[in-house]
Symmetry: D3
Subunit: 333 residues, 6 copies
């Protein structure tokens, strides 16, 4: 069985046209979402996407043999930094609602990972009612956390800061893992959102391991998206810290989880060697950035399962960890 922990929702244009409206009227037309029929919603999963290689979300999953995908909101659309907060709250809630409807429309195919209304004008405590609703009422199994609610417009507090404790504590209380995944990225930051993801993951891993969060909250399951940013590759820089702390940096790193959203076999091998397959979860981000055919191979760039299949030194147990058992364990599937 193949569980993909890193998938993002599909939605019809009406949903994003509504979002464009929220950003234009800033809530003065009210926040009522558009009426999207089940057919329209189903269609957004069954229609070929021009930006995703002209096949549909479902075809992507079927083609890759993904049995279950954990669906979260599409991060770069999250608009956490927009004002007033009520439009962030409305858009987040409706994103979660549409995920729930997809879970119901495609039985067994999806489970939900909740987005949070992470406006920097709200306190982290104020993000949590939506999380509780998503888990307790909608049955979601995880939460996605954006480490930069400012989306590049200010420097946020690093993930080791007590600012973030309420989210950690809620995740423990609700017994769900946290998927670290930043959102949009605006000026003055220099990088596009896609690179911002990587930069945020790098600094977040560093900050968590530099803090005592993982000691304070040992039951916390944090999954770092996209293979951990730069850290597994640059891990050598941190190894000498053993002299100061007496603890191996690799051991610290292995308190976190990582997904496999890397698109080259070399990188996947590096990741598996550095943190171990017992700390990596299969994630494809399908359909998404990598949903193009590689002209050199004829494969989809995001056919990460094929790259893993090609690694000849993995044992069956390791493959099972990657594709199924790690995910079952922390998502309580």
């Amino acid at each position: 069985m193949k569980i993909d922990v890193h998938g993002h929702m599909s939605a019809p244009d009406a949903f994003y046209a509504w979002k464009a409206g929220l950003l234009a009227h800033r809530g003065s037309h009210g926040m009522r979402p558009p009426a999207i029929s089940d057919d329209q919603l189903r269609d957004s999963y069954f229609s070929p996407h021009p930006s995703f290689g002209n096949i549909s979300h479902i075809e992507h999953l079927t083609g890759a043999g993904i049995d279950l995908q954990l669906l979260s909101p599409r991060p770069y659309q999250a608009m956490h930094s927009e004002k007033p907060t009520k439009i962030v709250e409305a858009f987040t809630a409706e994103s979660n609602n549409l995920i729930k409807r997809a879970v119901d429309l495609f039985p067994g195919q999806f489970k939900g990972i909740a987005g949070l209304p992470q406006s920097p004008d709200l306190t982290p405590e104020q993000w949590l009612p939506e999380l509780r609703r998503a888990v307790n009422e909608l049955g979601f199994v995880g939460v996605m956390l954006n480490t930069d609610p400012y989306e590049g417009t200010e420097i946020p507090l690093a993930l080791g800061d007590p600012y973030w404790y309420p989210v950690f504590e809620a995740a423990i209380e609700l017994d769900i893992p946290i998927l670290l995944h930043s959102a949009g990225c605006k000026a003055p930051t220099r990088e596009p959102y896609s690179l911002h993801f990587i930069q945020e993951e790098t600094v977040s891993v560093w900050s968590l391991l530099d803090s005592n969060v993982l000691e304070k909250y040992p039951e916390l399951n944090i999954i770092v998206s996209h293979g951990g940013g730069a850290i597994p590759y640059q891990v050598g820089r941190f190894l000498p810290s053993i002299a100061r702390s007496g603890v191996s940096y690799i051991d610290k790193l292995r308190k976190l989880w990582f997904d496999s959203c890397l698109y080259t076999q070399d990188s996947l091998e590096l990741l598996f060697k550095v943190v171990g397959t017992d700390r990596v979860l299969f994630g494809s981000e399908k359909p998404g950035t990598g949903s193009q055919i590689d002209p050199a191979t004829g494969r989809w760039f995001d056919d990460i399962h094929l790259l893993i299949d090609d690694i000849d030194w993995l044992t069956d147990e390791q493959r099972d960890q990657l594709f199924e058992s790690n995910a079952r364990s922390i998502f309580r599937l």
Copy 2:
């Protein structure tokens, strides 16, 4: 014949979903607009709109007997203050393109009024290539000018400031009128965009008349939307200035044009009395804010032509000025 100088484009959801994407990826996916077929575009004018009283754009026009509507981009969607400038430029250009396509799809029904890519990070000179394209290549007959490119996030320079001269000079060179109409409105400003329109018109009229713009550019035709903001109602405050300047404020005011986008007969009468029907152009903003049925009368709130019809003291010549000849004169129709 009834010419409506104040109408805004319709577009399918795909257009606004594209806009939502631009605001999410900030241009990193490229700026290519979605492929919108003629059928889709036509459909956006023929389908009932839930926010416009559940009838279509075309039905609104037909119902009101509007023979020709001048179409401009929908102002609250203009996103002039968003960064980087390239997304403002792309969205503005595609807005103008869709207007041009509507002009062609509905022969005789529409003419275009151009939107400008009014990013505050560009100079006014940098807004003008799009204006020249719209007039010279697309055949547009006017230009819409947003007096607050910051959309509420900073205080812009007032309209009498030399900052705006390049736009005035281009309008004269291209022999087109300027429709003053602000766009969106964000924090920290207190008012919603719809009230921001009014506030901007008020301060813009004041600033133009306080400056020497109209003396410097006597051939300039500036139309103030929504009946001139607060000015015709508050005009008494400015009358004593005759003592200082020797010029009647009413005479100065009558160098400007005003549209009739007011939704009560009393206000229309006031406007006509203050500035004269020879300075007012019929504008309905249909479909738009006023596209609701008044439960008390059964009329559409934006059936402004009915309100004008009800004013018994207007002569036929005055009605002709309002509905046709003034527009023909300054738009060269």
Copy 3:
């Protein structure tokens, strides 16, 4: 009998020279006001003013047949945004003191409306001791509230915000109406103070009606100066909101009061028709902005009572409401 609810104090030069000193030494010379004799003060009401058409304050009132004028501080002089707060407090208190002395010097001619020391560096609660002093010790019958204590230098919180509740609650407790009237206006705002009044009134009415203040404080009597800014003229924009709220915007508007400080008959007629004469109070702002002779008519521009007299469709009862009974009712005269 003719009651004018909108008049501003006169004062001798020594008072404003003292103010110039406060702004120059910022309190380091102490805050003791100048000794102004009764004769000097009386003289400031009896002497012709060069900026008010060269007749005196009293002549203005007599000429207009105003029996009782409610005197408030001259708003554009209020200097609420100046620092340190102690100079705002001293100047406000002395303004109120001089009003009280005028009330006493001209028995029956005046009643006081209190200014507040509305420094943005003080909390609204800190403005209230002066209000209590003015009402309880000086016998004032109303309070003037500046909706923009920053005087154009920053965007203030809108009037529907809980920030303002302490003032509303004090007004109810003291059983006095609130006269909305902004003060000075500095850079970076584009408009002169006189237009700022109008802009502030427009946004304040919008904000109050968009909030639940009038439902929360049903006994609150708020008078919007200058005929309500742009709102009565632009009221059509808000009428469609009945579809969303089920409440007529006109009904909401009629929970407020308006003064008649408009200088054209057309505008007065519009105001009376939109909100009803039972919600309008005669206000002349005499002597003030309109205290010039209209060369076309020979009348004073601010002879608003003549404009009202000229409206032939008003009943005697309506005239009584405007000139006397409305004011008696809410000011408890």
Copy 4:
């Protein structure tokens, strides 16, 4: 003969009431100064001032035996930091005009020192037309320079910076000395204007001597008010610099001039010893801060000439330098 180089203008209340108006309407009423008659102006010099010990400006001069006083605008009233610039320009010009009228009204008693419209929003070059007018048209003999045009709201460029060169060059061209004297002082600066004078003088002397201004402009005559701030007292800190520069700090200091506006004999003696009486000009600032009777001695605190008289070690030549010949030399009297 006794020449006092440091006196500030007197003016009637009407002048300062006009200033209060400028600060309230920010120029929107126009900038026309009030009509002040010769009698009113003369009266402001002949009437007892309550804040100056209840005797008049002229009595102060006569009492101290001052034959000629150089009159400059009253610095703490200068309002250089106020916006828009046109009110600074109007107020400065009228200050200079009133000085000129006083010079004419009291023949032989006064000469003028010009104020400059030192708005930080203008360039120093833009301050100079008023200087040229004052010297060439009004016959003024010096110029007062405020080293902090921001009046405490921002940190200005120090006096050694090329920013100030245009003023230095104009002074040389017009052959007049510069009297350094700062103006008002607002938040966030901690000190009152009177202490700000001292702080500005201290840092200005330091900056001039740290720069090459005095080498670059050897013919420049700069008079530091109030005895040079802290410098003569703290001069010992700077003496070791001889090791680095090879030049005695005292020699550098003696390229500047200092006035005697100190109110204790000990301080005057210190000043004379440090810089030499050939570099000090008698200045009384009468009437001003020191115009109070000392209860211990019965003398006016600002009877600086008496303190000088009491210094027994001064020669007649030195007394002549202080009271007359130094001033004659640099002011070309």
Copy 5:
């Protein structure tokens, strides 16, 4: 016996190289100070300093006959404004530790005055644990207080503000005097740190005397460094305040203490005359700014004791006050 209350620590290069490291790595290498041996530390007091006239700290003291010097951290090195706070705390603590070690290495020669970790990002309460450690554990006898923790980058609250009360209260509780002495000075401030000392002292004395601190805390002993900035020289400006407050400014001034760190006899005489020798403590700041030979006299500029010796009008009792008894009294020596 000669007690010098104003001396600053010496330290080997390793200490300042460590500081350079803290400023480079901002604490990411840890905050462990370098191992400095007793020999290295002793050597820093016994080696000739190139910037202090090429003789050693101890030679300076011996040469001047100083029996006991109170050692504080070298102020311009304090780096209070640097971030993060932990590097300020570490550097301050180690400064105090090195002072304590010097006290122990040179028995009888030194006593300690504590530096505080005055980061503006900490509250004054958070500065106090280090003060208590220094007094209670290290045996220090006083505390140095920097009145500008921002070091020129922002305007701090003046010393009369309640912000500073916790430090005053701790000094009283611990029964130690406070030596006012500012630290570094960065842009945008115009002055170098050495002049910043003087400016800060001037404004601090003014603020203390303008506030009620000395009435509220009568047992507080505050020593103003460098002879009180500009105040004793400019004291005449403040004398007229007796008219307003009824209290002699000199009497107020004499509630403070002053050190003798002035380098000219004239200034010392002025200081003694203004505040009295019973309020002045001998301070040499040796070795420091003044540690150069005066080419004119062959004396060290900072041989302040010689300047005092040269003042012929001082009595033996006064000399004893200056050199010994005042210090014994307030430092409890």
Copy 6:
């Protein structure tokens, strides 16, 4: 032969104590560097460093068999963001001078790579005289470029921006490669300098490849430190861009050079596979962050040559490229 392109200078404490002084007095003591004798300087290369595993710089090189090391300033000490610019200029010049002296003291062992005085208050053109001095007068063979002159305090312009062209053009003109290496890192940035290096390299590679710099300047040789930040590991994210640009991202990447400063064999293998050994230069950063003994292996963490030796699939030609020929080629050795 083994050429190490990534080594940083050693220096005695006196050099860093001088730097601490510059940061304390901000240039007011002058900028003269301390006299460091040849013996002191040589000693700093021959003495065991406590933070570098207690062996000396030279022992590190000898132990690793490094024949030639290219020495650049120690980046985290660069203090580019400090003010005023003159202290940055003085410190940079002296850093380069000490490198030149080391080159001369250890013949054949070192060559110099120049630091630039990259104050953000200077233009890039103003950084170049020091570069020309270093190359033309000191014989340096390369230049180190900090991509974040603000050191974390503001967001700099990305490396593809024309802002950086003058440096690129000077490097071409002088025929030297550019070593990208950021410097210190201060608040508000969240990461320590060591991680900042990685983040800056990631965004710089992205920006260069997103711009047309490498097409515009084909002869430019840019070496990205630390194995290219996150890019080689995350390269899969960028591969789909081939669909848009038609160019393989790997081909674009191979226009850059990379050093081998990674401390794990897996990472080195990844780097070699992704960009090819013909684009990688051996760099050890010895002595530095990795100069600790790995308790697990007994090797120095920064014995990168051993990690390379352990890669069994490298050919002799590839080893020669890495250790010698690539460096010879671009550094013209």
